[in-house]
């Protein structure tokens, strides 16, 4: 996993609520057996209409660019498919900002070096309007100090992250290494069970 410390980037606004994993990557693209290449089909059915690029969709609008996606409430609900996280990272996103994340998506994102930043609904609204009005605006995400800020504005908010997950992201570690290193504890647990 790639390390994550801080990121300064422009951001792409997607102010839709309840974006589910079927929108992020539709089921018909889940037939692959490796993790690569899912970015091509990220938001497939919003990006393309009748086989053509949908000019109204924000990813097809070159005014907006960057490695940060700012999305509406309850992002990533629905299926447990990690393909959603793979599609977002493969496309180039490093951070997703929303006022709420679905549990499984959040875990999947963190396991792939994609940082979900949960902000208050007010900050989300402000961020969306600033970015829409001025697409050149940079957003700063500082994982070490756990804050997100919008350059040239007063918008700044701290965000929560599990201390263990933060350590993993900052060092590029993952859970498998940790679990495997605890094998003796796991075996002792198995041996101690009575039912």
């Amino acid at each position: 996993m790639e390390k994550f410390t801080t990121l300064t980037s422009r951001a792409i606004p997607l102010p839709i609520e309840n974006i589910d994993t079927d929108q992020i990557i539709p089921a018909r693209f889940l037939k692959a057996i490796s993790k690569a290449g899912f970015g091509e089909n990220l938001f497939r059915d919003w990006r393309y209409k009748d086989g053509k690029e949908n000019a109204d969709f924000v990813l097809n609008n070159t005014t907006y660019q960057g490695k940060i996606l700012v999305a509406g409430d309850n992002f990533g609900c629905g299926s447990s498919r990690e393909h959603a996280a793979w599609a977002l990272t493969d496309y180039g996103f490093k951070v997703i900002v929303s006022s709420y994340f679905a549990d499984i998506f959040k875990g999947n994102a963190l396991n792939n070096g994609l940082l979900p930043v949960q902000v208050s609904p007010e900050v989300l609204k402000e961020m969306l309007s600033v970015i829409k009005a001025n697409p050149q605006t940079n957003v700063i995400v500082n994982l070490e100090e756990q804050y997100i800020a919008v350059e040239g504005t007063g918008i700044k908010e701290s965000f929560e992250i599990d201390a263990y997950k933060k350590m993993c992201l900052m060092n590029g570690y993952d859970d498998i290494d940790f679990l495997v290193s605890n094998k003796d504890k796991i075996e002792a647990f198995e041996a101690s069970r009575t039912i």
Partner: protein, 465 residues
């Protein structure tokens, strides 16, 4: 202070508490399928890590399989490759597989309970969000991502922080024609799709106590649709009777020993929850959804609400519906009875009971997809298959089918489908498809009438649950 059912099961599976961090939670059973496992097997191989407890893993092929001519090679080459990959991986690593053609094959959440793999007090995971289904047995069961599938492969454990607890109590008696599916659709419509995020839910009260295991599974299945990681129902005699005698259930003295333990699991009277909701069974009616998330549901006789909100309007636009419109009487051309929510024997019995002696409307394509080979077999033996076929329904072989449309079973763009599945997301059943979630009874009645009808009016004379 007392402990909840969830606390008891969770706490007894904690291997280790990481200082200032998550816990290492032991997983008893790991179910896998073709779509979310190949990358996990790859990961292990790349890192040269062996499977830690292969005998605790069971595999099946369900998401990406055809429901016609399962004895023939799969036509779609990508699907074929994915299914073959599962077989190859299971062979290589010594994992039990109930693949296509096996008499135990089926949707993972239908297959495991009916084989007695799912048992009270266990921890279970699968790379599929509807793993919450197994909570019906008083099991902690939840969906995981592929990285976590690899973690369980490597260690039979996961690193997790303990979720908060919520109890949803429904007391009273359900009205005629109101099925478990309506209960859960009602709850989600009341609470919203992210009300459960960060929580594990326990369903309590008369309604769940009186439900069959099939009904409890339908309810727990959809816990994820309110954002909860999982849902649970305390094990009781109904649970023990269901598990008893099944293929992989404990036998004889062993079973009795387990039952004594299972009896200690229900929530203590003085236990507290982080959140509690209570509903009255009498308020629940047959439900239908009108939007593009499972929280957008109304009673079948109600009108679509009016809300000035961009996401809400976008959703109605996709559905081709208007604020204030009624769904009752709406013409429907597709009906799907299947998916891990409603493809168990009881679901088909209810549908068949209603359909018996009737004919489906000419405009309707009605697809019946049993959840497993065993259910398919039972349908045949009980004469239910004949009822469906005589009424003009199309019977298929088991799999996820039109629930997610990964195979050929898709609903055409712009068409409405009354579906017993669990998700009405945009494009879930095919690009542009418009899904209306409902119970198997509402689905059956829709197929007969060719439009949405109020089943409570319809079934007065029928002896139904």
């Amino acid at each position: 202070m007392g402990k909840t059912l969830f606390d008891k099961v969770w706490d007894s599976h904690v291997v280790h508490q990481v200082e200032n961090g998550p816990q290492i939670l032991y997983i008893d059973k790991h179910l896998i399928h073709e779509v979310t496992s190949p990358q996990a097997f790859n990961e292990l191989e790349e890192r040269n890590i062996p499977l830690f407890r292969k005998e605790q893993i069971v595999a099946t092929a369900d998401h990406n399989v055809p429901t016609k001519d399962q004895h023939l090679p799969i036509q779609d080459l990508l699907s074929k490759k994915q299914v073959e990959m599962l077989t190859e991986n299971c062979d290589k690593h010594g994992v039990t597989l109930y693949g296509l053609g096996h008499p135990y094959q089926g949707i993972v959440h239908v297959m495991a309970p009916e084989l007695g793999i799912t048992q009270p007090g266990m921890t279970m995971v699968c790379g599929d969000s509807h793993t919450s289904t197994h909570g019906a047995f008083g099991t902690i069961a939840f969906g995981i991502g592929t990285s976590q599938v690899a973690q369980v492969f490597a260690s039979q454990c996961l690193l997790l922080s303990k979720p908060k607890s919520m109890r949803i109590t429904v007391n009273g008696k359900l009205k005629k024609g109101v099925l478990p599916k309506d209960v859960i659709l009602y709850i989600i419509a009341q609470l919203g799709t992210n009300s459960g995020t960060g929580y594990f839910v326990e369903y309590a009260g008369d309604v769940f106590e009186n439900m069959t295991m099939e009904g409890r599974m339908t309810v727990c299945n959809m816990s994820i649709e309110m954002g909860a990681r999982g849902g649970m129902i305390a094990p009781d005699e109904t649970t023990f009777n269901y598990v008893k005698g099944r293929e992989f259930a404990p036998k004889g003295e062993d079973f009795n020993k387990k039952v004594s333990y299972w009896k200690t699991l229900p929530t203590d009277a003085d236990a507290t929850f982080d959140k509690e909701y209570t509903f009255d069974a009498a308020d629940i009616a047959p439900m239908v959804t009108y939007g593009t998330n499972p929280g957008m549901g109304i009673k079948i006789t109600e009108r679509i609400p009016s809300k000035d909100d961009v996401s809400f309007e976008k959703s109605l636009e996709y559905m081709g519906l208007q604020k204030g419109e009624k769904l009752l009487g709406k013409q429907i051309n597709y009906v799907f009875i299947g998916s891990c929510t409603n493809s168990r024997i009881e679901d088909f019995r209810i549908a068949a009971e209603y359909i018996k002696g009737k004919q489906k409307a000419a405009n309707v394509n009605a697809l019946i997809v049993p959840g497993s080979q065993q259910v398919a077999q039972q349908i045949k033996e009980e004469g239910i298959q004949a009822v469906f076929e005589d009424a003009g329904f199309e019977m298929r072989q088991s799999g996820c089918s039109a629930c997610l449309g990964m195979n050929e079973d898709k609903i055409p763009a712009g068409e409405y489908c009354v579906s017993t599945s669990n998700r009405n997301f945009e494009g879930r059943q095919g690009q542009g498809a418009r899904t209306i979630l409902a119970s198997p009874l509402v689905a059956a009645a829709t197929a007969i009438a060719g439009k949405i009808v109020d089943v409570t009016e319809e079934i007065k004379e029928l002896e139904l649950v």
